[in-house]
Each structure stands twice: as structure tokens, then as C-alpha cells.
């Protein structure tokens, strides 16, 4: 059963295991360095649908179905799903899950949603409230541009600090009694909202870095660990600017150099030099796609043994941003191990 460790960490003593995962991405992501790791790379942004929103929901559903299939289960076996995306009213998740008939919890944590969902699904599996629970998220470059920025065909220049929303989805199936040798969720930490006064919606990495720093520091304090105790501290998705700032914050606040063990999904998913993505990638689908493909596969193989996955989200509202409000951010941590 989950036990509180220190002030913020929840230790999951029954080792809920991530028995299967799947990632489905769009065309640009399919040209990136991790294309071979994804379960499927679409070549058409519309995925055969008539709107960007429907396209995203199809990708979301596809990731979930593939994960269920890989786990050797059917949707009927799944006790609950924690899903989220960036669109208003979580429509990509809702439409994606409409026909699957699984008890559904819609989450909003912006780009941190995968970590939040994974944490909650693991908690449910740990307490045996669920035999099988799913965490899934999605985002789509075009639906996000349409909702948060400009129409696609509008000729705007992007700031060098801007991050590109990933077209993609990831889903993970967590089991209360998975086999030994599969990665398990050791502990989770639900983040606190941080806002150091960043207003620039084209610099989300800067808005999120303090939340990531706070969550990582809280996690290390409660567990008595340092950067050396992890194979990988994986943030998602701070991009280039946020990564620089996080490392600086860790150095100034804790006198700790995390650069040797730290990587960021927003930098990993694209080729930063060739793919013209400015400061990197973002979106709920970014960390989900990287985690549910490459990272979990490396954990399964034993190449990685303990990964502190820190999902970071800029809880940005265009309305409040126009009212001159700053951008509140959050980061949730999930420690995934395999030993």
C-alpha cells in the first residue's frame, strides 16, 4: 500500500508494474531520431480524418489500443484510464475513449499530464483498486496551434524560445501484479504550482523550469537521494531554454550538477539541428511518446535501472495570458525502476 515518505513522496510498496506501452506519432516526429522506437509513425497529419481534433483523438485511441493489445488484454480488462490532452474539455481523450467503454478520468496537467496520469494509475494499481489501469495522453501540432496560437497557414515568425507541439500519443498499461523483470513505479510525487513571473507564452520552458526544480529537489530531499542515485532524470518537456534554466536552478539552489544524468523529452524527440524546431518540443504527447517507447524499452532491457520521470506543464490559459497574468507551472515526478 502507498505510504508517505517525507513530506511529498508517496512510496508504492506493492510495485505496480508497467506491463505494456505504445507510442504513435505524426510525420515530423517520424523523421526524428527516435522514429524506429515508436509503434507507428503516421505520414499524414490528418490521419484520414476531417479535422485536427478528430485526428488527435484517433492517434490517442490508437496508442491505447496498441498498448492493451501488447499487454495481451482487451479493453474489458481495463479497470480505469487516466487520460488527458491540451484541448479544451479534453476532447481528444474523450473522443478517443468514447467507444472503448473503460471507466475514464480526464486529467489536465498540460504537458505534465503523462506523469500525473502514470502516477495516479500506479497508485490505483498499488492499492489494488485497479487490476489494470491505463495512463495515456496526446497532443497534435495542428490542433494546438489552432487553439492556442494562429491558423496554420498564417505567416507568423516563431520566437527562438518557442517549442513545437508534438503530434503524438503514448499509453501505458499498469498492472497490480505484473511479472518480475518489467519496470515498476517505485514512488510518485504530486507537484506544487510554481510561478516566478514568466509571461511570455512563447517561452514555456522558462515558465516550467522552476516547477521542475522544486519537484526534483522535493523528491531528493524526501528520499535522501542525489543526482548520482539515478540513471536518468527525464524531464518532459522543458526544451533548450528550460533545460538550461533547470540545470542552473539546481546548481544555485542545491549546488548540484544534474547535467550528466539529465535529459529532456522536448530535446530528444526532434533533431535539434536539422528539424527547425527552435527551442525543442512540447505537448502532452511529447513526453508520453518518448516514455512509452524508448525509455520504457530501455528499462525493460535493463539498460536503464532507475529513471526519475518529471513531467512538466505550463498551465497556460490564452485568456489569462491576454489579461496580463503570468504562467503558473507544475511538475509531477514518477520514479520508475527495474531491478
Amino acid at each position: 500500500m502507498a505510504k508517505r515518505q517525507g513530506r511529498f513522496v508517496l512510496k508504492l510498496e506493492n510495485k505496480p508494474r508497467i506491463i505494456a506501452s505504445a507510442a504513435v506519432v505524426g510525420p515530423k516526429e517520424g523523421q526524428g531520431p527516435h522514429s524506429a522506437d515508436f509503434d507507428h509513425c503516421h505520414t499524414d497529419d490528418y490521419v484520414g480524418q476531417e479535422s485536427w481534433e478528430m485526428a488527435e483523438s484517433v492517434i490517442h485511441k490508437d496508442a491505447i489500443q496498441r498498448a492493451i493489445e501488447k499487454a495481451g488484454l482487451t479493453p474489458l480488462d481495463i479497470d480505469m484510464v487516466f487520460a488527458g490532452d491540451l484541448l479544451d474539455q479534453e476532447i481528444a481523450s474523450t473522443l478517443g475513449l468514447r467507444e472503448l467503454n473503460i471507466p475514464y478520468v480526464g486529467l489536465f496537467g498540460a504537458c505534465s499530464t503523462m506523469a500525473l496520469g502514470l502516477g495516479l494509475a500506479s497508485l490505483m494499481a498499488d492499492t489494488s483498486a485497479a487490476n489494470y489501469a491505463i495512463a495515456s495522453t496526446s497532443s497534435h501540432f495542428c490542433s494546438a496551434e489552432k487553439q492556442f496560437r494562429y491558423p496554420l497557414a498564417y505567416g507568423a515568425q516563431r520566437s527562438p524560445t518557442a517549442q513545437r507541439t508534438v503530434t503524438g500519443a503514448g499509453a501505458a498499461v499498469i498492472s497490480s501484479n505484473g511479472q518480475k523483470g518489467t519496470p515498476y513505479v517505485d514512488s510518485i510525487l504530486l507537484g506544487r504550482i510554481r510561478d516566478l513571473g514568466i509571461k511570455d507564452a512563447a517561452n514555456m520552458g522558462a515558465a516550467m523550469a522552476p516547477a521542475a526544480a522544486t519537484t526534483i529537489i522535493d523528491f531528493m530531499h524526501d528520499t535522501g537521494t542525489t543526482a548520482d542515485d539515478y540513471d536518468l532524470i527525464l524531464t518532459g518537456d522543458l526544451g533548450m531554454v528550460g533545460t538550461t534554466l533547470l540545470r542552473e536552478l539546481m546548481a544555485t539552489r542545491e549546488n548540484m550538477d544534474i547535467s550528466k544524468v539529465h535529459n529532456d523529452c522536448g530535446i530528444m524527440i526532434f533533431d535539434m539541428e536539422k528539424q527547425d524546431v527552435h527551442a525543442g518540443a512540447s505537448g502532452c504527447g511529447c513526453s508520453a511518446a518518448i516514455l512509452c517507447s524508448y525509455i520504457l524499452s530501455e528499462l525493460k532491457k535493463g539498460n536503464l535501472k532507475n529513471v526519475l520521470f518529471v513531467g512538466t506543464g505550463a498551465l497556460m490559459s490564452p485568456t489569462l495570458n491576454q489579461q496580463g497574468e503570468t504562467i503558473p507551472s507544475i511538475a509531477h515526478a514518477v520514479l520508475i525502476r527495474n531491478d
Partner: protein
């Protein structure tokens, strides 16, 4: 409007962010803006000359030139080429009438999925709207000043 509710503004962090955030390459951008913007204007001049040669009177030519450029922009926006050019051109395509045409056509296309009335119709001027509002406002003000001056 300043952020009234947020007491968390951390000056040290904002300075840190300033340092970590790369600036836009201003010199390179300005050169591209100058060349592409200039090219569009030169093209306008060429059209002006050609339409004149075709025997249209000057008033008609003054309508034909912008109409032609708007039509070309609309087509380039429609086939998805305009944003690729504007990515490099910046203000070079934004300031001439090309920018205005693109700002009307692009949301009209984007919101087609929400229908002709609430989608295309309602959202068509979402970007160009402020330009029209303040453009008409400024024109009216200018007209009043012009009228007052003409009295003396």
C-alpha cells in the same frame, strides 16, 4: 495590464531567463525583410507599369495592383506556400497588403471545420479585425483633422 495578483515575480529568475533565452537574429532578419519586402513592392511597381501599358487609366490601375497581389497571396496561402515564405520574410510579407490578405484567408481556411457561419464567417477576421477597427478609427480621425484644416 500588469499582473496584479501575482506576488511571485522573481527578479533574479527573470534576469536568468533573459540570459538563457536566445534572441531573434535581428540583423539577418532585417536583411531578409528588406529584400523580400522590397521585392514585393518592386513587383507592385512592375504591375503598375504593365497595367498602364495595357491601356487602363491610373485610377483603375490603382485598384488592379493591390487586387492582383491579394489574389496571389490568397492562392499562395491556400496551397500552403505563404507561411513558408513568411517564416523567412517576417515583416517583409506582413506589412504590405500580403500580410492582410493572408491574415483573412488563413483563419477562413482553418475554421472551415466549424462550418460556414460559426467557423469561416465568424473567425475570418479574428486576426485582421483589430487592423480594420483601428485602421478605420485612424482614418476617421485623420478625416476630421483634414476637414478642420480645410476650413482655413
Amino acid at each position: 495590464m500588469a499582473s496584479k495578483n501575482n506576488q511571485n515575480q522573481d527578479k533574479a529568475y527573470l534576469e536568468m531567463t533573459e540570459k538563457a533565452s536566445p534572441n531573434s537574429p535581428i540583423v539577418k532578419n532585417c536583411i531578409k525583410v528588406f529584400l523580400i519586402g522590397g521585392l514585393i513592392c518592386a513587383f507592385g511597381e512592375l504591375l503598375f507599369y504593365l497595367y498602364g501599358k495595357c491601356g487602363f487609366d491610373e485610377e483603375t490601375v490603382k485598384s488592379l495592383v493591390p487586387t492582383t497581389i491579394i489574389a496571389i497571396t490568397a492562392i499562395l496561402t491556400g496551397v500552403g506556400l505563404f507561411d513558408d515564405i513568411a517564416k523567412h520574410a517576417g515583416a517583409g510579407t506582413l506589412v504590405p497588403i500580403t500580410g492582410f490578405a493572408n491574415s483573412v484567408v488563413s483563419p477562413a481556411m482553418e475554421f472551415q471545420t466549424e462550418g460556414r457561419i460559426l467557423g469561416t464567417g465568424a473567425k475570418m477576421f479574428a486576426i485582421a479585425g483589430p487592423v480594420i477597427v483601428y485602421g478605420c478609427g485612424t482614418a476617421t480621425l485623420y478625416g476630421v483633422i483634414y476637414f478642420i484644416c480645410s476650413l482655413f
